[in-house]
């Protein structure tokens, strides 16, 4: 049996269904991210696990115990908020010790645990400072230590990095993941940032309009999106209208240009309208050895993005982006020149229109 089980959970506000039939099993020590755009229901789901919202229907089990209707202060879950939510009237040490003092733990035990936590987040020198005397990154680390101090069964993180600048965000997410692994704590992380979710998670739940679109490892989500929404939302994607030519061979035609897809077009008939999707990094200039999916293209635009060079090519009547790693000896074609580009059969995703 899984450690945290969210079973057939639905949440309605009035007539609006915010979360619809959500099912997820999380193993102990697993790091799961809820990824999706604003309003997709990811935060509401997290808040139902925390106890701040009660599901309209469904059950939430934690280590076998039904916590669906339990008050938040009786659940033993740690929560980290986007706005840090540190108590402004308390020092770092007092903030971290708050949960333990509320639980009436002996004072010597509280002090010892606070010292452990302060050392875990490397803020020993700041233990007696007030939140307003710390930077955003430091405040969020205190918030993490405060949530972990009470030995929660699950750690819930509600967009904890959104208010931080880019560099701090990257270093703190690595720190959060390292601490989570070290303590072996089960964590649910809510974010709308795909890079964040891909880099930190064991599994990702992609959500859209209250519905789970796909659950999988970051590798599966990125490379094998099951729905058009997932394909579009995670990473950048070239999409184009196409038509099924040979369902058995997985052949589709876009503006008269044929592409072969490895996943095939089973269940579809010849002439069915579909979308093809190819990630920019899966396209490359064709070498002589390549045989599959070699198509003619015109170079439309070249944009230098630092480590990557984005080349816009026109295939048939459709513009595609093609990403290639930058190096000082890269020989780029001229604008307007005719080239051949290619991609593997596995790179061509066929999605419903």
């Amino acid at each position: 049996m899984s450690y945290l089980s969210i079973s057939r959970v639905t949440k309605q506000f009035g007539d609006t269904v915010v979360v619809d039939d959500f099912n997820l099993d999380v193993e102990k020590g697993e790091f799961v991210s809820f990824l999706g755009p604003s309003g997709c229901g990811k935060t509401t789901t997290l808040r139902m696990v925390a106890g701040f919202e009660i599901p309209t229907s469904g059950k939430i089990l934690l280590d076998g115990a039904d916590i669906t209707d339990k008050a938040p202060n009786q659940r033993n879950v740690g929560m980290i908020f986007q706005s840090y939510a540190l108590f402004p009237n308390m020092t770092v040490a007092q903030n971290i010790g708050f949960g333990l003092r509320v639980r009436k733990e002996p004072e010597n035990m509280v002090k010892q645990r606070v010292e452990e936590m302060v050392s875990l987040i490397n803020l020993e020198k700041h233990a007696n400072k007030y939140p307003y005397q710390l930077s955003g990154g430091q405040q969020q680390r205190v918030s993490l230590a405060r949530a972990l101090a009470i030995h929660p069964q699950v750690l819930l993180l509600d967009e904890p990095l959104s208010a931080l600048d880019a560099k701090i965000r990257i270093s703190l997410r690595a720190e959060i993941r390292a601490i989570q692994k070290k303590l072996g704590i089960t964590a649910i992380f809510v974010t709308h940032d795909q890079e964040e979710a891909l880099s930190i998670s064991d599994r990702i739940v992609v959500m859209n309009t209250g519905v789970m679109e796909q659950v999988g490892t970051p590798f599966e989500i990125y490379n094998f999106p099951k729905t058009r929404f997932v394909a579009n939302f995670v990473g950048s994607l070239n999409t184009a209208d196409a038509e099924v030519v040979d369902p058995a061979k997985g052949l589709v035609s876009m503006d008269g240009v044929q592409f072969e897809s490895a996943e095939g077009t089973e269940g579809r008939k010849k002439g069915d309208k579909v979308k093809i999707a190819i990630r920019p990094e899966r396209l490359s200039f064709a070498s002589e050895q390549k045989k599959a999916n070699v198509v003619d293209a015109t170079i439309e635009n070249i944009t230098f993005l630092g480590s990557v060079v984005r080349i816009q090519v026109k295939i048939g009547n459709t513009k595609f982006n093609m990403d290639t790693f930058n190096n000082p000896f890269l020989e780029l074609p001229g604008l307007g020149s005719k080239e051949q580009v290619t991609c593997s059969k596995e790179a061509v995703l066929v999605l419903d229109e």
């Binding site: 202060n73 929560m79 908020f81 706005s83 939510a85 402004p88 009237n89 708050f98 405060r146």
Partner: protein
Amino acid sequence: MSIFARIRRIPFWSWFWFILGALYFLLPLYATVNFSLRMERDVIGFKAYVRAFEDPEFLETFLYSNFLALMTIVASIILIVPTAYWIRLRLPEARRIVEFITLLPFVVPAIILVFGLIRIYSSPFKIPLTDITILQPLTTFEVGTDILIVAGYMVLGLPYMYRSVDTGMRTVDVRTLTEAAQSLGASWFTIITRVILPNIRAALLSGALLTFAIVVGEVTLASFLGVPAFGPYLFLLGQHRAYEPAALSFASFLLTWAAMGLIQLFTGDQQVSGAH
């Protein structure tokens, strides 16, 4: 930049309105002080102050009014803080109704309020349809009258206390702090006493000061309920003496300013933290 250079940068009309406003406030105060110091002919002295403070009734009424003010402040905090907190947290739609109720003391004069209180609470409380008395009329015994007047003062101070508390709660993220405390295992009582109250102490002090000023100088409720408070004492003194009331009025001003100074002293740190 020197202070003179800063002053020169402020436009003429700003100074004009500032000075006009200051004169409007300071001239009557100066007149009161000046008058209070001239009790003896052709001599500037503190005789009026000495005589006012020597009167045992002064200390008695002043201490009694302070006691009533303290009780009013404590009772107001107990009633208003959880109310404002709950409205902000769970019932934002009730805010307009409550704000309207808090404005009623501006519309209903104190004289109406006191007659209403006397009318209702000067008869014994009986179990309906029986002759069994469960409480004697509040106006017939001292503690009862104190309860009644404190309740009346709570109504008079309601607009100031509620607005101060509500403004204080607006400056802290009440909802997220509450949720953070809940997730750490805190009960509602712990959240209010250890998280919410300490973070709105500046607002509480402001509300308490305004309530204190209202209660200590209040005449109508105290006169009609017949309690030996400072307001009626000052009023009677003004009818029989000339210089002592002026001296006591100025002393009241000093007391208020001292209280404001204390508020600044105690809330300075919190304002800095709030700015972040």
